[in-house]
Amino acid sequence: MNGRIPILKLYNCLLISIQWELDDQTALQFQEDLLSKIHETGVGGVVIDLTSVDVIDSFIAKVLGDVVSMSHLMGAKVVLTGIQPAVAITLVELGIHLQDVRTALDLEKGLETLQRELGE
C-alpha cells in the first residue's frame, strides 16, 4: 500500500498515527509532509504513534530519527509513542538507540508528556 500518511492538527500539536508498514518511499514522503506541515501550522509539538507498526527496519528508523532532529530544528518537540516490544528489541539489536528522542507508552501518555513540556 503506497499512500500518504495523514497528519492531523490537534490544538498546538500534530498527530500522526502510522497504521501500516512503512516503505522507504512513504517514509521519505512523510518526512517532507511533516516538515512542511510544521512550517505551515507553527505547532510546538508532534506525536507519532507507532502502535500498529510491527516491523521497523534500519532505514525507517533512521528516517524517524532524522524527522525528530529536523522537527527539533524547526522548534517542535517530538514524542514517539506505542513502540511495540518486538520493535524496540529489533531497534536496540540493530544498534539504533534514538538517543534524544522522547518516548511514551501510548498516545495518551505521549500527549501528556508533550503538554507538560510545552507548558514549562
Partner: protein
C-alpha cells in the same frame, strides 16, 4: 532356533551360578563408587530381574516382554547408577554367559553361538540404554522449563512502577527472555518506571552489562524509564574496571532507594500517617 533353546536350558540350569558370578563381578567393578550405598542384595535383585527378562524375551517375544523391559530400565534409572556402569555390567553378563556356554565347543560353533547370542541380547541392551537416555533427557527438559519459569518475573509494586528481580547468572538465552518479559510487562502494566534488581546476579561481565544496557534502551523506546538497582560494591568495581559505560542508565545501590527514586519520577512520595 536350537541355540535359543540351548540358551534357555542353560540359563535355567545354571541360574544360581551365573547370578553369583555376575554379582561378584559387579561389586568388584564398582568398588570405589557405589558399593557403600548399594548392597549385594540389590545387585542380586537387579541381576535376577535382568535374567528373567532375557528368558522371557527368548521364550515369547511379545508385548509383555517390551513392557517388562521398560519397567526394568525405569528401575535402573531410579537407582541412579551411572550409564557407564550399567553398560559395563550388561557386557560382563554377556561375557560370563559366553564363557560358560562355549567351554569346549569348536571354533565354528563358538562363532555361531556368539552371533545368535548377540542378535538376541543387543536389542534388549539397546532398549535399556534408550530408556536411560530418554529419561535423562526428560529430566533435563523439565529442569529447563522450571528454570524458564523462574527466569524473569515482573512484579508491579505500585501504579506504574514494576520491579524485575534477577537472581542467578545471566546468559544470552536468559537475557533475551528477560528483555521480552520486561518489555511485554511494561506495556501490559502500563509501567512508567521499571526497576531491574541485580542484587542476586553474582557476576556482571561485559556481556551481562551489555544485555542490561540493551534492555534499558529498549525500555526507553517503549516509553518507560529503567533503573538498575542493587549494584553491590564488587559489581561497581567490575563495571568500572571493565570500562563499561553505564552513564545512560540510572543506577541505585538498593531496591529501596530505587523505589524512592521511581516514586519521585512519577511525582509521588511515601509519607507516614502519624500525628
Amino acid at each position: 532356533m536350537e541355540n535359543a533353546t540351548r540358551m534357555i536350558e542353560f540359563i535355567q540350569a545354571n541360574r544360581g551360578q551365573l547370578l553369583q558370578e555376575w554379582v561378584e563381578k559387579m561389586s568388584s567393578m564398582d568398588e570405589q563408587k557405589l558399593s557403600t550405598v548399594i548392597t549385594d542384595q540389590v545387585y542380586t535383585n537387579v541381576g535376577d530381574e535382568y535374567i528373567n527378562i532375557l528368558v522371557h524375551d527368548l521364550i515369547n517375544q511379545d508385548k509383555q516382554a517390551k513392557n517388562k523391559m521398560r519397567d526394568f530400565s525405569q528401575k535402573l534409572v531410579q537407582l541412579g547408577w551411572n550409564l557407564n556402569f550399567i553398560m559395563d555390567s550388561l557386557m560382563e553378563f554377556s561375557k560370563i554367559m559366553f564363557f560358560h556356554m562355549v567351554g569346549e565347543a569348536s571354533e565354528k560353533e563358538q562363532i555361531e553361538f556368539g552371533w545368535a547370542y548377540d542378535k538376541w541380547v543387543t536389542p534388549i541392551n539397546k532398549e535399556v540404554l534408550n530408556h536411560y537416555a530418554s529419561s535423562w533427557q526428560r529430566t533435563v527438559s523439565l529442569q529447563k522449563i522450571a528454570l524458564q519459569e523462574l527466569s524473569a518475573p515482573l512484579i508491579p509494586i505500585f501504579d506504574n512502577i514494576t520491579v524485575m528481580p534477577l537472581v542467578g547468572t545471566i546468559d544470552t538465552d536468559r537475557a533475551k527472555r528477560i528483555m521480552e518479559n520486561l518489555l511485554q510487562g511494561v506495556v501490559k502494566h502500563h509501567a512508567q518506571v521499571v526497576l531491574i534488581d541485580i542484587t542476586g546476579v553474582p557476576v556482571v561481565d561485559t556481556m551481562v552489562a551489555h544485555h542490561i544496557i540493551q534492555a534499558s534502551e529498549a525500555v526507553r523506546l517503549v516509553g518507560a524509564k529503567c533503573l538498575i538497582v542493587g549494584i553491590r560494591p564488587e559489581i561497581a568495581q567490575t563495571i568500572v574496571n571493565l570500562g563499561i559505560n553505564l552513564n545512560q542508565v540510572v543506577t541505585k545501590n538498593s531496591l529501596q532507594k530505587g523505589v524512592a527514586a521511581a516514586l519521585e519520577m512519577t511525582n509521588r512520595k511515601i509519607v507516614s500517617v502519624g500525628e
